[in-house]
Symmetry: C3
Subunit: 363 residues, 3 copies
Amino acid sequence: MLVETEQPWPRNVWYQAAWSQEIGAKPLARTILNQPLALFRGADGKVGALEDRCCHRGSALSMGTVVPDGLQCGYHGMVFDAGGKCVHIPGQDSIPPQARVKSFPVVERQEFVWIWLGDPEKADPAAIVDYPWNDDAKNWPHKHGRSRVKCNYMLLMDNLMDLTHIPFIHRKTVGGGVVMEQVNARMDVKRTERGVHFIRWMRSITPPPTYVKGAGFPPRIKVDRWQEFEFVAPASVIQWTGALPVGCGAEQNRDQPGGFSLRMYHGAAPETHGSCHYFWTGANGYRQSEPEATEQLYSELAATFEEDIAFLEAQYERIMADPHRPLVDIKHDSARVQMRRAVERMIREENKTPHAAGAIAAE
Amino acid sequence: MLVETEQPWPRNVWYQAAWSQEIGAKPLARTILNQPLALFRGADGKVGALEDRCCHRGSALSMGTVVPDGLQCGYHGMVFDAGGKCVHIPGQDSIPPQARVKSFPVVERQEFVWIWLGDPEKADPAAIVDYPWNDDAKNWPHKHGRSRVKCNYMLLMDNLMDLTHIPFIHRKTVGGGVVMEQVNARMDVKRTERGVHFIRWMRSITPPPTYVKGAGFPPRIKVDRWQEFEFVAPASVIQWTGALPVGCGAEQNRDQPGGFSLRMYHGAAPETHGSCHYFWTGANGYRQSEPEATEQLYSELAATFEEDIAFLEAQYERIMADPHRPLVDIKHDSARVQMRRAVERMIREENKTPHAAGAIAAE
Amino acid sequence: MLVETEQPWPRNVWYQAAWSQEIGAKPLARTILNQPLALFRGADGKVGALEDRCCHRGSALSMGTVVPDGLQCGYHGMVFDAGGKCVHIPGQDSIPPQARVKSFPVVERQEFVWIWLGDPEKADPAAIVDYPWNDDAKNWPHKHGRSRVKCNYMLLMDNLMDLTHIPFIHRKTVGGGVVMEQVNARMDVKRTERGVHFIRWMRSITPPPTYVKGAGFPPRIKVDRWQEFEFVAPASVIQWTGALPVGCGAEQNRDQPGGFSLRMYHGAAPETHGSCHYFWTGANGYRQSEPEATEQLYSELAATFEEDIAFLEAQYERIMADPHRPLVDIKHDSARVQMRRAVERMIREENKTPHAAGAIAAE
């Protein structure tokens, strides 16, 4: 049996490669699934993804320049179109057919840039996770973050599937208040077609600092707080959390003014087995017309995730010191265990297809 | 034959893990013999040593918090007592028996924290090195230091067993003066039950800068200087060095006022094969009522050991580039060679016991 | 077939170890062909090269001190002469015959320090590359540079053999102007006994910024520009580049005032397979009596080579991610391919000799 941190990743899936805003006039170097990439926005505005290695002398194409016909290598000037074909060699008329680099399917949608590194024939944009709130900046003003984390991407997913960590790690932001009020939430977990869904309800609890700052809850108020998380394999989590004052009937209707309401997306893209990119976005659903509220929320979330990252990196180091040694599951791991199984199922499915299995073996 | 830097360490011995003062309100992360540890001072004031890996998700326990019942993991709140038993899982009543982490015997004595990483049944506190001067701050006011050194711990012991390095490396502090006066000391070496003892006498020599500053020797005075070192295997050195003006009869009685007198302890704890912790303490035996004299001594010693560390790290790098290539012993290696033999005997003894041998093989 | 970056280096050749000016009162630590060296200037003014490892305890001799008889180890004071023989052990009269370190032939000439790491019997100074301009500071005032580059040394040679990179990478210095004017140079390549020679002529082109600053060309002037490069295996490039206003008959006579004229030497010394030392010198052949012109040239060249180094290091990383994957040669690789062949021939020749082959196998 594979230890969890050695579990290979699914390949025939879309991973987030970047936020749209990251890809501007200059190419972006990023590695996903051990594949160094040069991501660029072509003259037509479309995002292209080429391997980050010129076929001529191996230079990093991400150090090149966007030109009308594609991406020009910064070393000797060869130009590649978004399909990876060489379309220009300075000072040479004929272009040999082997002058090409690998290209990868890319879809830009809802401010995400998604990449497909598996079998290109299977790349179906319909499989991309839907996160419509990024398209609704009026009702859900938001701001994106990204960090490189030195751990296997699954540890980040684990983190999001067991929220009892929040009152321990995040006392200054989303976890402050009374520890056991938050630990003892009612937790409903259900398996979904593509992953796991859970909702946690904490009734009549002290709201944490981020909620108080955001919603302006008065001192000593008690709130009903919810945490609704949906995991979509292999590496996406859609979150809706918030709180309303006790007595508002939050469980019947969470869409009421006067409370705190946060929509989030969390995604991980494996960089290597031991590192990943953490993409997140947080949308202010409580003071939508106030940009400073969105900024404040961003700062609180960024500080929160820095706390997670410090734990995750130390955790990964400790696990890798003895990766085959067993760990002990507890009651609060219920959603986490289902999340792991969903990814394992995905990998098993992929391995049944001879083609995809070959792609994995080649790694 | 093992090359010296690859020599495994004895396991069934006490190693210094920390100075008492290092373990306060927050747990301390430290690795000894490749074992990451969380050292903490429990609510009862006693020091505990747990492996630095929570049995739940592998988090670093050293990032946790001391609570009344033990050390609480900072990730999901499990609490472990000093014996490694899990005594609390937030939100869960029953605690599975496998919920435990490794714990290690610890003895705190004379401002040292000692740890035993070998067979726990053999852990006898009577074997701990005695250094009573740490308990006598009135006559021997002192201050402790610690550094992480990127070399095998034995190179540090080597350094202390051949003091002819002092006039070459430490010209600004304990080695200044006339080189050959210090090299040509009379050296008496004798094997002891647990290691090696030597004393070096330099008669009628120029005192080095640290001695002049400390004792206030007038210009152009000559002193009789001694260096008495006792090595106790595997990694302790007890030092008494000093000087008295010529004519005082230093060799007959070293306990006279008007001179320089320094008691030291040096200890190494292997962190990995290629790194160690260097613990040292230096006691002012000449101006005991002046705290600034103790501070000055500390500064001089800290500067001195930085010079050693620079040499040791470069030396280790050079040796490891070709670890099986022989070196050449010279006359001044007599105590050093006996020190090495004492450690080798200790390892051989340990390997005779089937249990302990297993412990080594498992590394 | 070896991939190019794994190609072993010739051993029975002279490599540049340093510039003369680098070796002053203190020894210099430098690694060439994986051999750590202590380079020092003895009391007689001659440069010596010893392995950087004392035979006593493995210390770095480069941390020692030059004394009248040779280089004294900084740890316990053993002294080695330039031939590697131990000539002094402090406090010990007899010196055992095995007390010696490896020494290597060194020749200091024309401001270069050359070292021979192969079979010492074959070390013939007549094989050293001649660069007489370093001896003619009046007509060719110059200044030297050195960088450590994290790539195989051959990538640096590649860089110098395909100058079409200049208008792409060096737009601010020697490559500014019109890209295709520089790409479409007339290129004459010829194989030489010891490598490759080429000359490129760009007629009636816009001069690049470094040339304009240096020669004071007026706005909108067109120049005839040349790039003459001679590669001498394994790792030397002698360069003469410059430009004269159109109409001067530059092709008939390049030695005319009123233009830009630069003599350069580029050399690489492999440090490890994945790193090298880049030595270069640039001589001002246009405003020889103005030291500030030489300084300005130095600054322009240093900035230029920083740009190359950034590309080379990224290129090496990309190539090493998949070192056996083929690359695609283009027309402009003609001199580069001949350069590679010259080095391969040199290695093959060396391998025919049983002795030298042994030296390589021992690496």
